[in-house]
Each structure stands twice: as structure tokens, then as C-alpha cells.
């Protein structure tokens, strides 16, 4: 993911365009211009899934592979729904490896790095969705 300072979300009065640093094809296909649905899900991700992610990291650090698998499984859909399909794929890979208790550390490190870069993008996207919806109301 690129430097967050250069991110802009292009919008116009009538349609909303997702941030190109997210999986725009997936987001357009899923939301189909129901931007209020997107607002709900982005809020949900930031209020619930982020917390779950930290719990996931803690479980990894305490070698609780069963919990790692379970949390990864739960997070995959919401990561997709905010356009972080690349991280979702890594979580899917980790989910299958966690079942076999394989070495997960390098995979978790990769997920963690991507997550850290992605969070400001998702925050910005949530704000842009909110502005767009407020403009639509007026």
C-alpha cells in the first residue's frame, strides 16, 4: 500500500468512488451503490474487527492456535467487505495452517504489516463515505 498522505478519494455529486488502494472491484460488486450499507460495514469493521485483530495477535503470541484459527475465520468476511481482500486471503491461508499448527509466525508478521498500513486507509474511507452520505441528504 502507498503512503497514506497521497490518498484521495474521488467523489462527485451523484456516485461514490471507492479508494483505489482498496479492492474497488470487490467493493463495487458487493455494495452496488448501496453506500449506506458500506457506511454500516466500515463502522462495524473499525469498531469490532480491529479489536478482534488485536485479540488475534495476542492469541498468536500465546500460541493459542485454536483461537488463532477461529478468529481468522471470523475476520475474513469483514476484511473483504472493507476492500482488504489481500489481507483476507492471507487470513484464509493462516486459517488452514493454524488447523495443522504449522509455523505461522512469518505469515502473521506479513498480515500485521499489511494491517498497519491498511487501517488509516479504511479510516479515511469511512470518513469519505460519511461525507458523501451527508451531502446526499442535503
Amino acid at each position: 500500500m502507498n503512503n497514506v498522505d497521497n490518498i484521495g478519494t474521488l467523489t462527485n455529486e451523484n456516485s461514490f468512488h471507492f479508494n483505489p488502494l482498496l479492492d474497488v472491484n470487490y467493493l463495487n460488486d458487493y455494495y452496488q451503490e448501496n453506500i449506506s450499507d458500506a457506511a454500516f460495514v466500515f463502522d462495524l469493521f473499525l469498531n469490532c474487527t480491529v479489536q478482534k485483530f488485536y485479540e488475534f495477535i495476542d492469541s498468536m503470541l500465546s500460541n493459542n492456535h485454536r483461537k488463532v484459527y477461529h478468529l481468522a475465520h471470523q475476520m475474513i468476511p469483514t476484511f473483504k467487505l472493507v476492500g482488504l481482500t489481500d489481507i483476507a486471503l492471507l487470513l484464509k491461508e493462516l486459517e488452514s495452517k493454524a488447523r495443522q499448527s504449522s509455523c505461522l509466525h512469518s505469515l502473521v508478521k506479513s498480515i500485521r504489516t499489511k494491517f498497519k498500513k491498511a487501517i488509516p486507509i479504511v479510516f479515511n474511507q469511512q470518513a469519505a463515505i460519511g461525507s458523501f452520505l451527508r451531502r446526499q441528504k442535503h
Binding site: 452496488q32 474487527t49 475465520h73 471470523q74 468476511p77
Partner: protein, 235 residues
């Protein structure tokens, strides 16, 4: 038509998204959100539920365990991110199979299909009993046997087979209760439990959650109780 709906899913995000979709849909009356199968089973015992959105992959008690333990299940929609449960959906005659993450248009189509199913079932149950033929043929052990419908006491599900209990004999046939109830739509038969279809004319006694036919005590599922009471008033 309003469907009394329950969500059973251990994931908070999954429950919240489903709740959001349910609140958008005019046909859904969301009556419970359960974060696990045990709570779902407990609620199902107490309340009348038309539709369940059931997560298949839960720790402790899975969606399949839930279905095996539920005394009677209303329409069930499997929700899961794994396609492997599609076979189970077929075997358990699930109403629908929603692969996560699913969007609102997909959810809405699922609800519309559930409404159609519910309307069809209501039509079958409310039809007056107009006898068209008083006998039917069953195939048992390779031969065709003619039965008088009035001799049939009840049907009992036994795994992949159905036992047909008649006044003087019983037969084992390869069928499903769902198919049988459709064939007997115009006769005084009714499904009152996941495992039983009864001849309404043969009821000897009814208690709170059981009835008696000849000397057999047959359970009445909560989900069928009120429909049974309504139907008996028509006789």
C-alpha cells in the same frame, strides 16, 4: 407476511450485519440473536420461530449439531464461508445456503423464497379435505401394496425410510415425510413433528405437547402446535 426470525452465529460482526439486513426487510420480524447454538436451542424451545439464519461453523456446538438436537426446525438458512456445507444443506433440506459475505440483494432473494415456501405450506394446511382417491400404493420390498388411506394411522420417519403404521400392520418405505405430506395434501393428514405425520381422524387424545393415536404417544412440535389446533377446528 412477517417471518419470526432468529440469528444463530458466534461472530459478532456476522450477527450485526444480519441484524442490519433484517431491519431493512419488511418481511422479517427479528426476535432473537444468539451467539451460540446452545442459546439458539434454548430459545427455540420457548418461542415460535419461522426462519433461522444458522452459522454452520461454530465452536463447541456446530450448526449440524444444532439441527440434530433441535426438536423441530422451522425454515433454516445455512450461513457459512465454506462451500463444503452445501451437501449438508441439501441433506437437511435447508431453505437456502448463503455464502459469506453475502450482500443485501442476495439476502432479500433468500427472504422472498422463504416467504414463497411459507405461503405454499399454509395453502396445503388450510385446504379442505376433499377425498380424491381413498387408496394409495406403496412399494415395499419390491412389491406394490395397496393401502386404504383410512387405515393409515401415522407415518414415522426412520432415518432414510418412513414407517407406515396402519391398523393391522406396518410397512417400511423409502421416502421422506416431506414428499408424503405433499401427496396427502387433500386428506386429513398433517405433519406435527419432524418425525411424524398423523391421520387427524385417528387422534384419541391430545395433551400439551403430545397426542395419542391407538396407544402410541406422539410428540407435537412447538412449531406445529397452533396450526394443528386450527386444523382440528375445521373437522
Amino acid at each position: 407476511m412477517l417471518l419470526n426470525t432468529m440469528i444463530v452465529d458466534d461472530s459478532l460482526e456476522a450477527r450485526k450485519i444480519l441484524e442490519f439486513f433484517c431491519n431493512k426487510n419488511k418481511h422479517i420480524n427479528l426476535i432473537a440473536e444468539c451467539d451460540g447454538a446452545e442459546k439458539g436451542l434454548f430459545f427455540l424451545e420457548k418461542e415460535s420461530v419461522d426462519l433461522i439464519f444458522l452459522d454452520m461453523n461454530m465452536p463447541e456446538v456446530s450448526g449440524i449439531d444444532f439441527l440434530n438436537r433441535a426438536p423441530e426446525t422451522p425454515m433454516v438458512v445455512f450461513t457459512t464461508s465454506e462451500e463444503k456445507y452445501a451437501v449438508d444443506a441439501f441433506e437437511f433440506q435447508a431453505q437456502d445456503f448463503l455464502k459469506k459475505p453475502f450482500n443485501y440483494p442476495r439476502f432479500d432473494r433468500c427472504v422472498r423464497r422463504a416467504i414463497e415456501t411459507m405461503e405454499k405450506e399454509n395453502q396445503i394446511q388450510q385446504t379442505l379435505s376433499i377425498p380424491q382417491s381413498q387408496s394409495l400404493f406403496i412399494k415395499e420390498k419390491g412389491r406394490h401394496v395397496r393401502l386404504n388411506i383410512t387405515d393409515i394411522l401415522y407415518f414415522e420417519n426412520e432415518s432414510d425410510y418412513v414407517r407406515v403404521h396402519c391398523k393391522d400392520k406396518h410397512y417400511m418405505i423409502y421416502s421422506t415425510l416431506k414428499r408424503i405430506v405433499e401427496k396427502l395434501a387433500n386428506h386429513n393428514f398433517m405433519r406435527i413433528h419432524r418425525s411424524f405425520i398423523i391421520n387427524l381422524n385417528e387422534i384419541v387424545d391430545i395433551e400439551e405437547s403430545t397426542l395419542v393415536i391407538e396407544r402410541k404417544v406422539i410428540p407435537i412440535a412447538k412449531a406445529h402446535k397452533s396450526a394443528l389446533m386450527k386444523r382440528l377446528k375445521l373437522l
